[in-house]
Structures are given as C-alpha cells and as structure tokens.
Symmetry: C2
Subunit: 159 residues, 2 copies
C-alpha cells in the first residue's frame, strides 16, 4: 500500500501541477500546524499574534490600523482584537498621528520588541528543525523553484 | 533595488531554511488568494465550500459531521454553516445513520456531484496556469523535495 508510484510521464501536465499544488498545501499546513501548536504550548501565543508583532517589528515608525491590515492581508476586524490584546499586554502602544486627529499609529514597545526577538528566535529554530531534511543546496533549489509560483499573469503564456 | 542577491553560502543554514519557509508561505498564499478570487467571481463560491465538497466527493458513502471536520481539520462550527448552505442549495443532503438515532451522514447529491466536477475542472485549469512556469520535470522535482517537509519528528536528527 505504501509503494511509491513511478513518475508518470504520460499523465497530462495539469495533473502533475495539481499534485504539486496539493503537496505544497500539505507541506505549508503541516508546518503551520506545528508552529501554531508550539507557539500555544511554549509561549501561550498564536500565529496571527506573531504575524502582527513581526509586521510591527518591520515598521519601527509605526503603522496605522489600515496599513497593518494591508501588510497582513487580513480583515481589520481580526487585527483590531489582536492589537487590543497586545496593548493590554504592554507589547504594543497606540500613538496619535500629528495632523490627523482621528488616526493612531501602532508601534511595538521596548518590551514588545524584546518579546518578539525571543519568539522570532524560537520560530527560526523550529523552522530549522521542521525543514531539517533539506540540506542548504536543496533548500536553495526549492526556494528558487518556488519563485516561479504563481506565474506572472501579466506575461503571455509560453504555449 | 530589484537586483538578485547572490546565494550566500556563509549564512547559517537556519537562515536559508527560514527564507525557504517564507517563500513557501508566499507561494501558497498567492495561489490561494487567486483561487479564492476566481471561485468568488466565476462561481460565487468559496475555498472552504470547495474543500467541503471535495471531501464529500472523496467519501461517496457519506461522512458524519465530526468525520468531516476531522478530514478538513477545521472547527465543527465552520463546517456546520457550510453544510447548511450546501443542503439549502441542493448540493448535499443529510441522511440518518442506521442504528444511531442522533447521528446523520452528509453526502453530495447527484446535482452536487455534477457541480463539484465543474468546479474541480476549473480548479485544475487555474492551478495549471498559476503553476505554469514550472515544466513537468521541475514540478515533479519540487513535489519530491516538498515531501521532505516537515521532517518526520519521530526520527533522530541527522546532525
């Protein structure tokens, strides 16, 4: 039952690409599940919270809520709740925007920045282990192939 | 600004793997965003709905709600709403389980099965285009490398 099927060169290319897509989804979801679990059990944190902190770390001058949502490509509603928790926990702070009375900037606090460093370091260690079956050459080859996904839809198809 | 950085062999392997992970996430999310958009605009459908239909198509004898959630790895709450819509739309039906008065099986109707075939065919065409920059050899190589993610954590680390 577990025998590997030989490569089937005669199948339509679309099937080969579909199999690749399903494998890509599976790899991504498996790693995300592991990360989610470790953030929860070891740091009482979540992936969305980690993503928000990472975005704020990359923008030390602060981001408006709308900018933060855009960077994260998630709905404002979700981000609002996460930011509220981060502010309550002393990880982020809200700052008025000069010249725009209704806008606020969200920034990491010094404590938040330290906390993010700790999480990011653990995250890198976990990824190193989860992707540890790939040596540097394979990892680089994989990264380069993945740069072709998705095809740039503004270009003409090649066939 | 867009110049490619040469491969940095001297960086720690963990950075190479982290870069791979970020690229993997980006590729997966880009394709998912495209699929989501096309399902919405061309079929007034959604990815979670498509995933539920695909799971039901793979289990023609029907699935209990709990089994369906397990197959999809999502919370029962989300699946319940999707299944209700599918039943309302005549795509799926609820069937009593002989010998278990409280359980129901969810199955695709004939209309649902036809509808899934239509969606699955469109989905395969979209994937074929989105992954179209990879020839069959590259797609197969990528699939095989992805089979190493995540590393089987029951095995001893190799170094």
């Amino acid at each position: 039952m577990s025998a590997r099927r030989p490569a089937q060169r005669l199948e339509p290319v679309s099937k080969t690409r579909l199999r690749l897509w399903l494998r890509l989804l599976k790899a991504t979801r498996s790693v995300e599940t592991e990360l989610r679990e470790r953030l929860r059990t070891e740091y009482a944190s979540t992936l969305p919270r980690f993503d928000v902190m990472a975005a704020l770390e990359r923008h030390p001058d602060g981001l408006k809520m709308s900018e933060l949502s855009q960077v994260l490509r998630v709905s404002n509603g979700n981000v609002t709740g996460i930011v509220e928790r981060l502010v309550d926990d002393g990880i982020a702070l809200r700052e008025p925007v000069p010249g725009d009375r209704r806008a606020v900037l969200i920034r990491l606090t010094a404590k938040g920045s330290d906390e993010f460093d700790r999480l990011a370091s653990a995250h890198e260690t976990w990824i190193d282990a989860l992707l540890g079956d790939l040596d540097p050459g394979q990892a680089t080859a994989l990264t380069e192939l993945l740069e072709r996904i998705p095809r740039d839809s503004t270009e003409e198809p090649s066939s």
